[in-house]
Symmetry: C2
Subunit: 376 residues, 2 copies
Amino acid sequence: MGSRTVNGGATSAPAAVSVDKGVDFANYFCTYGFLYHQKEMLSDRVRMDAYYNAVFENKHHFEGKAVLDVGTGSGILAIWSAQAGARKVYAVEATKMAEHARELVKANNLQDIVEVIEESMEDVILPEQVDVIISEWMGYFLLRESMFDSVICARERWLKPSGVLYPSHARMWLAPVRSGLVDQKMSDYEDAMNDWHGFVNETESYYGVDMRVLTKPFAEEQRKYYLKTSLWNNLHPNQVIGSPVIIKEIDCSTVTINDILNVRASVSSAISAENTRLCGFAGWFDVHFRGSHENPAQQEIELTTAPSEDFGTHWGQQVFLLHPPVRAHQGDNLMLNFSMTRAKENHRLMEVDLTCEIRQTSGTLLPLSTNKFYIE
Amino acid sequence: MGSRTVNGGATSAPAAVSVDKGVDFANYFCTYGFLYHQKEMLSDRVRMDAYYNAVFENKHHFEGKAVLDVGTGSGILAIWSAQAGARKVYAVEATKMAEHARELVKANNLQDIVEVIEESMEDVILPEQVDVIISEWMGYFLLRESMFDSVICARERWLKPSGVLYPSHARMWLAPVRSGLVDQKMSDYEDAMNDWHGFVNETESYYGVDMRVLTKPFAEEQRKYYLKTSLWNNLHPNQVIGSPVIIKEIDCSTVTINDILNVRASVSSAISAENTRLCGFAGWFDVHFRGSHENPAQQEIELTTAPSEDFGTHWGQQVFLLHPPVRAHQGDNLMLNFSMTRAKENHRLMEVDLTCEIRQTSGTLLPLSTNKFYIE
């Protein structure tokens, strides 16, 4: 579930730094306690259709089975699982939203099947192992929020060896893009610096204090904020100017936390637009509902957050801008090194290192600088 | 210092609930680590002029003296104290902003006088008691952020019996106001509810889940957000439609934390505008720099955040809207019961209970409902 604000937990797999629960709540969980936020996600038709169809077109996975919904929120996936024939659904939710989920379950007459448990997934004890783990855990660019850790933990502890995961697979994509945001953000940055210089002069004149020593850290802070922080956007497909490439493939039944602590890829993408401006890169994801090898889906469903005219989602894409943008031509080949890790101070946020070289059709190699980005 | 976001600490006086430091940082302190935020406060000319004049027109308080700056931020007050002749200034700052303050002090050649200490005020140990405590601790409506607790703690531990506080006094004000915000917020609320009802219908139609049981909590959440949360605004003086009244007076040299845990007042205000709409109430504050009885200021300075055409501050006023607004006439007398306490989950936020009765000039008494507000 994509959430604007993320201001970390123990799992069975080797974990990142152990996160204080109170701090994790203040930084992250608290946003999920609001019905307004749940409604935003429940109003995302692409998201809702994908999970709805995945469940109801694969009832064989649910009929008579035990199901675990990790991070049930309002309870929607647990309710669908029950309506699709589950014998028992454990709906785990760390925030007070669990109380609303409980009411919703009762109002839909499913309290004999769905048990809502207000607890963090890492701490919960279930009376049995389950046949299905269903969860909508995806954050911006898939891994922001690091909620997938909780799903992996749940799988390790509570999924039967023969069990299936909903979704079963996930992929991260990257593509070169054009966007007016690159001009807007540079302009915002320049305005902030102009304002700063005026402020420094005034503070010296009126108040006798020389602030120039702070210019460098102020500029760095504004560069990080305006130029180096990835942006949420729902891009139009015609803003994608080269072939999208897969930078990570995840089999949800086997992936470990270690596998996702550092997402690295070396890929290349050919520019497809004739004469264009490479303004940066967009990252997005898709997930698939394929069941398992032993127990496949009857109807495979895909949920994609790729740029789309009509089927945008609340996740949008994450846009990493290049300053300055560069002119690019059809056939130019971009060679990209991508590396994403968790932020030290907050495991739910990410840092990205992105290196790009352009091999032009003429043969000339244009090296571009290595760029650091922050997914906040 | 007014700060948009606040997401508490042990003092010598009987404290509120002890606050986890990590949580307090995630909820509150972190916003003060940004230079952009410091610049906002440093660009507030009314704020800057008041403190600047208070210090430099009362050098006798600083010359050869030991000074403590509580929450030094960028270090500005500490620097002025040193420039006004202090022998030694202890500039205490809980966030990494202390590093910038240290650089600023050095760049202004005051490192022999100003010692920046990166520590929370409640934990710091100073080598001596001080003659002056200077601090800009005021939040929206004076007490939001509860930073004054740290100043009281500092006073109890580190101020000499003969010492002075900058500022020395503070007052909270309330006044009846008119504002188009009342219509805007009601409209926002109604839009949110209309949207919700459409959402409930669609979720039933498309997804077979009856969300009606959540309508009541959703409405309550939106009422709290749109109608019951006080708003930041810089009001024009002609929006004040009745006599402003003082609801709290504080002598900074004697006030205790207990005195400010619950701010209560029963006051009355006469409507001064001819035929107007009582849309709610505005709260603001002023502080004064008067020195102490034994050691008064030579030049008393006032810093006010009252509605002003030309001298608005970054604090603005806090606006508490009445839904629905009521017609009011010159001479109508408003009898108000005001009570403000700290929010249970976060001692840096406030809750307000406000009861209002109108005695019209005809003699008729109009009781108005008791209203609960949240200062977030």
